[in-house]
Every structure is written in structure tokens, then in C-alpha cells.
């Protein structure tokens, strides 16, 4: 085996070790790369800023712990942003595991901004049925969600006074890691009921939402940990996304190096064979 073949067939454990180091070292010793907000994230921020105090924001969580590093920081920043602007949050989810994550985000922000459950925010919980849940809630929220996530009747909560359907919601935000998620909210809430919809998605699914963003069907878009870090930057807070960007930058750089390095030896090997 010559040197080119050796480089082409590097032991995968060496690659794993390099990735581990590329992630761990920047987390232990932060570099502090400057983060600049992109247009989709700025639009997301502007959509919330455009709301007047007391407006109703529906936050639907369609993600789970596996995508938490990307989406949870958005959830936390969003709750802080809403409470800082005195907006009211109605939480719900089309994925069962998104409910406790949304609840934790809202509770954390509520503590910081002295907001009260049932008055300033509520969590309606999970309902199975995907797109039909959106369609049903659009017509009648209390019928679709008669109880909150812990099984308490929603009429007990002050925040739900006068909330009948999507006419009483000013902005819908879906934080999603797949289907059902942002796409379904656009299809029903925006397409059919004309509601303003914004989204936060994983980096891998973000490219699929650019058509909706450019057509104006999506008010704003946060894509992946980078988007979450940009949102934190606009809000002038430092969360887990901003802290994770150094590690992600180095890991991306390493993967690009792998691709270039492997292709360099591949092309040399190909030329030699000819």
C-alpha cells in the first residue's frame, strides 16, 4: 500500500478522535467568533418586534431532545423576547417531547421577567393528529385543547379569556425538527387562514423553507444553531447557541478539510492510474 492509498484509507478512529477534539477544545477554550445576523433571522426578530404589548403569540414545538442543541436555544430566546416585550405566549406542540422543552423554556423566561402561568403564558400540551390539529385549532382552540398540558381545564386561565380561534392569535411560531412542523403551519394557518407564521428549524431542514420565506408566507426563519446564535446576538444575550458556534465552526472547518484532503489524494491516485 503506497502513501496515497494509505491516506485514502485512514482508520476511522483517527477521524473520530479529530472530530472529538474539534468539538471539545473550542467548548473548553472559547475563541469568541463574531456572529452577524442574517436576513431570515432579522426578519424573525422584526416579526416579533412589530407586535404591540399584550399580543398573543402561539408557540408550537415540534422537536425532541435529539435536536435540542439546535432548537432549544431558539425556544429559550423566543420566550425571553416575548416576555421582554410583554407578549402573551400560548404554547402547544405536535410532537409530544416538545411539550416539556417548551414548558422549561417558558418557565425559565417567566422567572426572569416575573411572568405568571395562566396569566402571561400557558401550555396547551400535545395533541395527536398533526395537520388536522392545526385545522381544528384554527376553528376552535378550546374544543381542540380543552385541558392544558397537566390536565387542568383551560377556562381556569386568564390568558385564555376571549381566545376562541386563530382570529385571536397575532403571530404563530413553529419550532420544528421535521414533520409535522413549520410546513404544516404554513399550509393551514398561513395558506388557509392568512395568519402570520414564523419558524425555527434545524440546519439540515432550513434550505427547504427558503421558498416560503421569499414568497412572504414565512415571516422569518431561524435555521439551526447558527440561526439561534444570530437571534441571541440580536437580543444581546449569550446562550448555548452562541457558545456552541465556536465548536461548530471548527467542526465544519475540519469536515471541509477532510473533504479537500481526501479529494486531493483521490485525484492524484486517479491521475497515476491513468
Amino acid at each position: 500500500m503506497n502513501i496515497i492509498e494509505r491516506f485514502e484509507k485512514v482508520d476511522r478512529r483517527i477521524i473520530f478522535l479529530l472530530v472529538l477534539l474539534a468539538v471539545i477544545i473550542p467548548l473548553l477554550f472559547p475563541i469568541g467568533f463574531e456572529i452577524k445576523a442574517s436576513e431570515p433571522v432579522q426578519k424573525f426578530y422584526d416579526a416579533i418586534e412589530a407586535l404591540i404589548p399584550g399580543s398573543m403569540v402561539l408557540v408550537s414545538c415540534e422537536y425532541d431532545p435529539s435536536t435540542m442543541p439546535e432548537v432549544y436555544p431558539m425556544n429559550q430566546s423566543l420566550a425571553r423576547h416575548c416576555f421582554a416585550k410583554d407578549l402573551k405566549i400560548i404554547g402547544m406542540g405536535l410532537w409530544p417531547q416538545g411539550i416539556p422543552l417548551n414548558q422549561a423554556s417558558m418557565e425559565q423566561a417567566a422567572e426572569e421577567y416575573q411572568k405568571e402561568y395562566g396569566v402571561d403564558y400557558v401550555n396547551l400540551g400535545y395533541k395527536a393528529g398533526g395537520i388536522v390539529v392545526i385545522s381544528s385549532a384554527a376553528e376552535n382552540i378550546p374544543n381542540t385543547f380543552p385541558l392544558d398540558y397537566a390536565g387542568r381545564p383551560i377556562e381556569e386561565f386568564e390568558i385564555m379569556d376571549g381566545v376562541r380561534n386563530f382570529d385571536n392569535i397575532d403571530l404563530i411560531i413553529s419550532l420544528s425538527a421535521g414533520d409535522p412542523g413549520v410546513r404544516e403551519w404554513i399550509m393551514i394557518a398561513q395558506g388557509r387562514y392568512g395568519k402570520k407564521v414564523a419558524g425555527g428549524v434545524t440546519a439540515v431542514s432550513a434550505p427547504a423553507f427558503y421558498p416560503y420565506l421569499h414568497s412572504g408566507q414565512l415571516q422569518g426563519l431561524i435555521g439551526g444553531m447558527k440561526g439561534a446564535a444570530e437571534y441571541e446576538t440580536i437580543l444581546q444575550t449569550s446562550g448555548t447557541a452562541s457558545r456552541g458556534m465556536d465548536a461548530q465552526s471548527i467542526a465544519h472547518g475540519l469536515i471541509i478539510f477532510f473533504i479537500l484532503f481526501a479529494n486531493f489524494f483521490y485525484l492524484i491516485g486517479k491521475r497515476r492510474k491513468k
Binding site: V10, I15, V19, F33, S66, N143, K226, H252, I259, A262
Partner: protein
């Protein structure tokens, strides 16, 4: 009758859902609400059915003891503990269920996804080759987007994020739109075939 009744039900349900979209007034709007409620109820029962099936499959695995049968014990134990915790003490913050979610399920689930980083890196080294002009184009785009989407790209060249945004906003969007239009047309034609009874494979699998 065995086939005709399901076909009639499908036709009526399908037509009502189509009509209520274009005529959002009574009686179609009421029918939509009714159908939505039925769907939500049926979905819950489907979940119960799925859970029942899951338990049945893994209980049988324990009886037959094929290779890796002990994983079924983990599944059944996990299911039982979470189910009892949720049913007895509720799912609110601070309950035993919540404790298990945050301290057992969450780290395990995150860990499984985190492993992807290692496999992606390994795959990028082994499989991502400029074998054809198309593959080379894909490779260059991927590199530009990857590096342009992280702050490091800005340090290498301050125009890299703009290049990445352009790729995402134009070539990517054009491709995505084409895919979406294709999927939408496919869904419309398949739905029509099902509603009109031309497509009947869902009835018997033939």
C-alpha cells in the same frame, strides 16, 4: 359490498374535505369540524393500537429469545416505568416522569444524535468524491455553504456568508420549488385517484 362501502365512504369524506376548502361556509364548515374531531379521536386509538402492537412484538421476542432479545427487556421496562410514572404522578414539571425525561431520555436521545457528527465526518472523508462534474459542483456548493454558514467563514473571507446566502436563496430555492411543485402535483393526482376510486391499493394491498 366489501369494497363498495369503503369506496363510498372515501368518496364522501374526500369530497367534503375538498368542498369545505373552497366553500368555507355551512354546512361544509360544520362537516369539516366534525371530520376533524373524528380524525383526532381515531388518531388516539391508532396510537393505542400501535403501543399494543409494540408490546406484543417485544413480549413475543422475550418468549422466543432470538438474537438480541434482551433489548426487548430494556424497551418493556422503559415503557412500563414511564407509563406508570406518567399515569400515577402526572407529567408536570417536578414529577418523577419529568425527572426521567430530563435525566434519562434527554441525555440518551441527544447522545444518539450527537454520534451523527462522527459518522458525517467519516463519510465526508470516505465518500464525498469529485467523481463526475455534477458531483464536483455539489462538492463545491456544499463546501461554500458549510463554511459560509459558520462565523469561521467570515474570518476566511468576509464575502463567504454572502456566497452561501446566494446559493441558499437562488439555486437551492429554485430546486426546492421544483421539488415542491412536483410533490404537490403528485399528491393532487394521487388524492383524486383515491377519492374517485381509481386507486384501490389501500383496500386490499393489490
Amino acid at each position: 359490498m366489501k369494497k363498495q362501502i369503503p369506496l363510498i365512504i372515501t368518496f364522501i369524506a374526500g369530497m367534503v374535505m375538498v368542498l369545505q376548502f373552497f366553500i368555507p361556509h355551512r354546512p361544509f364548515s360544520d362537516l369539516q369540524q366534525l371530520f376533524n374531531s373524528w380524525f383526532l379521536i381515531i388518531t388516539v386509538f391508532a396510537m393505542i393500537l400501535g403501543l399494543g402492537n409494540l408490546l406484543k412484538v417485544h413480549t413475543k421476542r422475550l418468549q422466543r429469545k432470538p438474537k438480541g432479545w434482551w433489548y426487548s427487556i430494556v424497551l418493556l421496562a422503559g415503557f412500563t416505568v414511564m407509563f406508570i410514572a406518567g399515569m400515577v404522578w402526572g407529567i408536570e414539571r417536578g414529577t418523577f416522569f419529568d425527572f426521567l425525561f430530563w435525566n434519562v431520555h434527554l441525555p440518551m436521545s441527544s447522545m444518539m444524535f450527537a454520534l451523527l457528527a462522527f459518522f458525517v465526518a467519516s463519510a465526508s472523508y470516505r465518500a464525498f468524491r469529485a467523481r463526475t462534474p455534477e458531483a464536483t459542483l455539489l462538492l463545491i456548493s456544499a463546501i461554500l455553504v458549510m463554511i459560509g454558514r459558520v462565523p469561521l467563514g467570515n474570518y476566511i473571507w468576509d464575502k463567504l456568508p454572502l456566497v452561501s446566502d446566494w446559493i441558499m436563496g437562488y439555486p437551492n430555492m429554485a430546486g426546492q420549488r421544483a421539488i415542491m411543485i412536483g410533490i404537490a402535483l403528485g399528491i393532487v393526482s394521487t388524492s383524486l385517484r383515491i377519492i374517485l376510486g381509481i386507486e384501490r391499493t389501500y383496500l386490499s394491498g393489490k
